[in-house]
Amino acid sequence: MQYLFYLFAAISVLSALLVVGARNPVNSVISLIVCFLSIAGHYILLNAQFLAMVHIIVYTGAIMVLFLFVIMLLNLNKSTEPSKTLLTRIAAVTAGALFLFTLLGALRQGVHIAAAKEFDGNTGLVKSVGQSLFSDFLLPFEVSSVLFLSAMIGAVMLGRKDRSPREDAPARPEPSERRTKKIPA
């Protein structure tokens, strides 16, 4: 069991690093999917079956596909991304590492979180989660509909193609061109 945990952990960390490191965006997406799958594995290890399912469906099935879709749509599936300067990269890595080590250093004080008195193996099952969701968490559940509605509106509003072709220039030209710097085409 422990070995499975460490295996999944190693896979998730490595694939996460790959997400960051891959030159080609498609490779990144695939690494991320691997990472998510390993996280799903953790969920299963934790006996969070409902979560594992939803996770695979939502993340791997929907979100990542969406990512791929956009990459294809925008024709980004080439490793054309100019890399950042070395300095920025070092700074980024340093910042990340510093952050991590500070957190880990904090953990050295020890975590004393008492487990539940009575361990309940059914916690992560669909039934238990569903009960909780539709009793205690009813309001959030309802309210999140507002969230989705806005997200939908947003997607439609922003993603829709212009009624008039872009070449016709905007109705009102961007007026405050106070900086003359041109955007490279």
Binding site: S12, L46, N47, A48, I63, S83, L107, L147, G159, P184
Partner: protein, 109 residues
């Protein structure tokens, strides 16, 4: 399945926490590291997932389904956010013709 139930009892909670922190940090560093905005978005997803993992672990630890419900909500929100985010990205790509984060600097100072 009975055997698997004990994962949280075998693996110390700290390990979950550490794993989660590592993933979180990788996501964070990745957001700084890359210029491609789509990859930055993916890094953000990674950060969310590290939180999800942590919540799931706590949830199991406490035997409280609430944490897992929360993860569910995070997924909801993440989905909504990604939708909006990608829509904005597409719009931006149309306007600016780039997804390079360094090209996004018309607004400054």
């Amino acid at each position: 399945m009975e055997g698997m139930m004990t994962a949280i009892r075998v693996i110390p909670l700290e390990h979950y926490i550490v794993l989660s922190f590592i993933l979180f940090s990788i996501g964070m560093a990745g957001a700084l590291f890359r210029r491609n905005t789509i990859i930055i978005l993916m890094c953000l997803e990674l950060m969310f997932n590290s939180v999800n993992l942590l919540l799931a672990a706590f949830s199991a630890h406490h035997s409280d389904p609430g944490g897992q419900v929360f993860v569910f909500f995070i997924m909801l929100v993440a989905a909504a956010e990604v939708t909006v985010g990608l829509a904005i990205l597409v719009m931006m790509k149309r306007n600016v013709d780039s997804v390079d984060i360094n090209q996004l600097n018309r607004l400054k100072w």
